[in-house]
Amino acid sequence: MRHRDTTGLALSITTSVALLIAQGMVFLYAPREATMGDVQRIFYFHVSSAWVGFFAFFVAMLGSIGYLVKGQRKWDRLALSSIEVGLAFMAAAVIMGSLWARPVWGTYWTWEPRLTISAVQLLVYLAYLMLRAAVENPEQGARFAAVYGVVAFVTVPVSWFAIRWWRSIHPDMLTSGGEMALTPRMSHTLAASLVALTLLYAAVLRQRMRLGRFADALASLRTYVEREGVDS
């Protein structure tokens, strides 16, 4: 196991540069939105975080399927790491959404479909972490979590339709003003934010998986020492 992670370092540096560029574009390059004003600038990172959150849960589903089919630890590490990182991004997206909603819609929370499904996904994957914490045998925990990871992701499209129709039946006046037209500069800024936050996801995921690998190595060393004693 290498202790100097050159690729990880390069990835971290690229991510930092991309984040700086995206931040700069959000505040300096993107135009001031006509009706919402500067508040709208939170939109770029908000949308990007939500996208990364869903993408992370998708990756977690792939990891879960991989673990159920192949049974190798690395797939489970991928699923768990991606869910932990995805939860952080999804929480950030929901919080930023609320901050945006307050001045624009006049309330921190509405049952707007995209907001609602993000919150439901948060609850689903918090349950995933609770499940992991509640199983002692690591192999069994990984297997149960993989089952949950697959089943959970399958409910996403059904959730999406259910929540959308649910709100369209009780139309919400607050959300009708939520759509806005994107100018080219806004699109560029959104693209830059997407790239920057996706890189951030990749960088953090990589570190989290590395940490998981070390934790596994430490666990097996502990078992070895307990069995054989320190001297042998």
Binding site: M130, L131, A134, Q140, V151, V158, W165
Partner: protein
């Protein structure tokens, strides 16, 4: 033994066991009556407001009473060691899942029959109609499919009974939305065709969940 006979054997075993103890049905029944009373007191239900709240009360009660029954259905498998015997049947894991799920659907349907009678009587809402019963059956099938898989997982965790609702409810949200909307529409006098979008969503959830749960169940049981 054919696949259908294996499934049937599991269903018959669960029903026979239930007939001897009545522990699952009785717990669900008493809980559902308590829940309906708690809702009536908490929401102060009268007249029109009761009518609007009935679909919600029906499905929240089904969801919570359902987790009680589903927990029991695997807890007693494990206490008696019966699940270990079942798992020895060659190639029978999908059959165990379908058998357990069907058994759970049957228990929940019995509980729901009483619940529907109770709600119709208390709030004078016409619930005992074929189309409402159809929606109830569809919602129950999907809930029991997801619940049976997750109860098998939950019974092997440290938190046991606490784990099932935490795992199941967030995954059941789309099912609950669709079931409440379809039931509410039918109570308001809409035809089945008018709520067909919700009914199709229920069917999609049922089919998708049954397929995924049958495929993954073998990983959810055993040490």
């Amino acid at each position: 033994m054919g696949h259908l006979r294996k499934i049937w054997a599991v269903v018959v075993k669960d029903i026979a066991l239930e007939c001897r103890t009545w522990e699952m049905i009785s717990a669900m029944l008493i809980f559902s009556v308590l829940a309906v009373f708690a809702f009536s007191f908490a929401l102060d239900l009268r007249g029109a407001s009761a009518r609007g709240a009935v679909p919600g009360i029906l499905w929240t009660t089904v969801a919570f009473a359902g987790t009680l029954g589903l927990n029991r259905s695997f807890a007693r498998e494990q206490q008696s060691g019966c699940i270990d015997g079942l798992l020895l049947v060659p190639g029978g894991r999908a059959a165990i899942f379908l058998g357990k799920a069907l058994g759970n659907v049957a228990m929940m349907l019995i509980m729901e029959t009483f619940l529907l009678i109770l709600l119709s009587g208390l709030f004078s809402v016409p619930l005992l109609r074929p189309n409402v019963l159809g929606v109830v059956a569809l919602g129950t099938a999907g809930y029991a499919a997801a619940g049976t898989l997750l109860a098998a997982v939950a019974v092997n965790t440290r938190a046991r009974e606490v784990m099932l609702p935490v795992l199941l409810l967030p995954l059941a949200f789309p099912l609950l939305i669709a079931a409440v909307q379809a039931t509410g529409g039918l109570i308001d006098g809409k035809t089945l065709a008018e709520v067909s979008g919700w009914v199709r969503l229920l069917i999609a959830y049922d089919v998708g969940m049954a397929a995924i749960a049958t495929l993954t169940f073998e990983h959810a049981v055993g040490a």
